[in-house]
Symmetry: C3
Subunit: 397 residues, 3 copies
């Protein structure tokens, strides 16, 4: 695309009216056109920033972040997205706050939202909890808005839950689209989402689940590979199957990394914890059974160690399409000989893909900003046009 | 009110010229007209925000926050108020800072204030300390400004001290004014500020003190109720008595929650620690007597436990005016069966008043913003008018 | 200077074109004219702020801060500088982040920089590490920018490294320039940078090194005084010698505070740790030798205690030029009888210089802002002119 009008024209052809005043929980709750709208607005915002056109649409307003897990990439992506649109990030650091024992989500959600336009939450640790918590927050602020407590309903952006990691997977996908020169070139491409060994245990399932839940929508042949016992949520596999059928692609699961990599156009080798074990851990935490948790950790690490051969090696990369599959990772990766003795990927493979990997990550702020943009404006095309006409430079010139 | 001009007209009739370049420590250091100016500007700012008119008056500038106690509500209210006016919050986290042992307040205050327009402080833990500290800060930055070190004198907003909690009580009061349809309807209304049992001890006195120090100024019949031994600062009771006499209302203290609730129009049941005990605790901390502190805590919890019958029950609510008194709380409340076994309020009472309680809290950012606004502009009416004429949308449209 | 044009005229006479898109590591890597450009832009920005002209040149963008040591003054100075120009500070708190063991600097630097215009780093604890780390960050983001990952190359501002503390020393110097009425009045003035006793050990060397590396460039007679064993980095002394020769001043090292103070026009008495000991400590940390570190600490404290007579007393101050040398300190100072029993300076001396000391500190935000300004604009004169013509008030009026 060469002009902003191209992006606007593309949006004009799409139906995404239900995104207005909405939230972003799971990619498979959105229509294909809605996802395309997110990609298009993300590209438009990047285009404008590259051309030094300010996309500040808020004169004031807060973007609340709540991270229930350490984070660098997503934290900075959220901060960047808010800043790009004019929102100031205010972090709800539960350690510094006075959230009373037994205080309802409804109360906290309203108390922090008087001037909040966005709430971004990362809550991925406990199966059955994270996504539910986000819904509770949205229900609370929706009620608060209706009751006249909040002048606006903040939009929720899922920054990673127990089920999906939509901002990550949408950024991954936008990277794929750009690398392959457009969505129209993806039909029949083979994508391998595979488990890989890592010396740490308990990595979230949201990335593999998000990937098979999203990337089956573009006519690709998506293969999920993992050792037996590393199953993901069955509901998400059902989503993947339906998506594949609808998009003219395919989805299947195998227990061999070799099979998945064979002739793959795109590979995404990454460690995760077995769904059933994570469910068990959630229960153990719920019961305060710390001995049980320790025993489970030991068991999981031992189980992982049986699969050290699941690694993205140079040999394996050679078996992909022309030996040049696009290598993806949400980062940070466990790199053999760099961040650990034996890890997910050979150092030489990782090094070769460093620039594309960072480029992949660079889409996340724009994806988040696009999700906010589409929730806040009924007619985003008009707003984009106004921003172009206003032509305020991002950096004075 | 229907137009911004109505608020401006109201301000035109008030004398608040001494607020310019001033600070906000205690409500009873302000005249009635000054308090009315705060309410009016708060309402005007809310009106503008509701009508999507930006009230950003600062292009740059910092709002410094210093919280010496955990906080969610006040922290987010301060952040919201600063953001609404265009200031960026910078938190002075004493843990992360390099404040030297023995470093003077004067030094710290100046070092953080080079570009600070506001300093908000919460320091409510130690009797005789918090308010004094705030004055020390103001003295320091006033000197710094005079000496040409600071280009501006930051205004201090008391976000809770050992004596008063002005932003909370002013928000409570603005809520009352709106619920009763105007200050003119408050004459003769009965307000019960009463102690209530909580399983935690050592809750600050600033709310009950702030309430009797402020709400006696509107012609209401204010009753302070608590078990013997839970006295508040005598100086503040003196203030309450004088206020009541001047406003044509009344102030009295009783040792019966029933008596206070009887026919009350407004009830504010809330736990606090005895003033004398808090004074003792301050001394124990000063002497580093941690055994003494532990003994005192035990003693206070035992004392509290003798008064579990001091609770805002459904039965008690029925005895209020038409059984429908306006229930107030600064939040978070200790709710029986929700946040604790036995607490300040029945769950069903709390639930019924949830929306008004949250509405009450929603005024705090506007009260804080109004305090800043009145300290920064010699002619706030003119500035409000300019903002209306400038008509920059808060969210682009 | 009376008008902004005076500053612009001054800039027009200077060559600083290499600062565009550059970084600020060490003062002695910059030419005299480049340093003068920093002072001039700092003064111009202060002039504009004092005249209520907004200097907001960024509509959006982040200023990333990374503090590997506690900080109040520098933290707030960086936040103030960013805010003054329109950047929002986002702190990279390594405790809250997910920086993987073995993760490359290159990765972290890129991941946080998608929308970063500035990165400010304080990393002064380990000899041979801090400055190197900053270069690694700059190399990484430069590559990232070239590879199309980052739309801009963030500029690095050294907020204190193991070698230099350029923002501090430039602020100190600008204070000197103003106190003496211009750079042209400094020729032949005597400046004493001297060690002073403090009960704490291990204070960074960056200030004395920064001072002798910078202040030898203005034709002054610079004397470094310290007890034997408290040597600074020899490379920096070489820089000081060359500077002095080039500027027509002098540099020498003595082991007597009395000799240094004698007839001095400016004194900077301050504790620091011996360079060799800090190097040893760095190695001990590297080897995880915590017993060795403890032993070293004990040894250093004992060594310090032998030099309690190295203090800036009233007696010593009397020996300076007219008994009225300008007393400098980067703060916080160890004040005898105030912050410690025996410290760097007499309480009465410190008190007498309080206002000038705070004024000295007040230049730091402007110095930082000027460094950013000169890195971001090819023609800063034109931008200053535009800001004046735009004439947006910092506070609405």
């Amino acid at each position: 695309m060469k002009t902003l009008q191209d992006y606007i024209d593309k949006l004009n052809a799409l139906n995404f009216k239900d995104m207005y005043n909405g939230d972003f929980f799971l990619t498979w709750e959105k229509t294909d056109e809605e996802l395309e709208a997110v990609f298009t607005v993300a590209d438009a915002l990047r285009f404008m920033r590259e051309n030094n056109i300010s996309t500040k649409v808020f004169e004031s307003g807060l973007g609340i972040s709540l991270f229930r897990d350490n984070s660098t990439r997503t934290r900075f992506s959220f901060a960047s997205a808010c800043n790009l649109l004019g929102l100031e990030v205010q972090d709800l650091d539960e350690g510094k706050s006075q959230i009373a024992h037994g205080e309802t989500v409804r109360e906290t959600a309203n108390m922090i939202s008087f001037m909040a336009d966005v709430i971004g939450i990362r809550d991925d640790m406990y199966i059955g909890k994270g996504n539910k918590y986000m819904h509770d927050v949205v229900d609370a602020v929706t009620e608060g808005n209706k009751a006249g407590i909040l002048e606006q309903k903040p939009t929720l952006v899922n920054l990673q839950c127990d089920i999906d990691h939509p901002t990550q997977c949408m950024a991954d996908m936008l990277h794929i689209i750009h690398e392959f020169g457009g969505v129209e070139n993806l039909k029949g491409k083979k994508l391998a989402m595979t488990w890989a060994y890592s010396p740490s245990y308990g990595k979230p399932l949201s990335v593999p689940q998000g990937v098979i839940g999203l990337m089956t929508r573009f006519g690709m042949d998506v293969v999920l590979a993992h050792p037996e016992g590393y199953e993901v949520m069955p509901e998400v596999e059902e989503v993947a199957k339906k998506n594949a059928a609808a998009s003219g692609g395919s989805y299947r699961r195998v227990n061999s990394m070799e099979e998945a990599f064979k002739d793959a156009d795109i590979v995404y080798p990454k460690s995760w914890a077995p769904f059933a074990a994570m469910e068990k851990r959630t229960d153990l935490y719920g019961n305060g059974d710390f001995d049980g948790i320790k025993a489970l950790e030991k068991e999981l690490l031992a189980q992982n160690a049986q699969h050290k051969d699941w690694a993205c090696t140079e040999e394996l990369m050679k078996t992909t399409k022309d030996g040049k599959a696009l290598y993806l990772h949400c980062l940070p990766a466990d790199i053999t000989g760099v961040s650990c003795e034996t890890g997910e990927v050979d150092a030489s493979v990782f090094d070769r893909y460093r620039d594309p990997l960072y480029k992949e990550a660079s889409y996340k702020p724009y994806i988040i900003a696009a999700m906010i943009f589409l929730a806040k404006f009924q007619n985003p095309q008009e707003i984009l046009k106004k921003l172009e006409e206003r032509n305020t430079p991002r950096i004075l010139k």
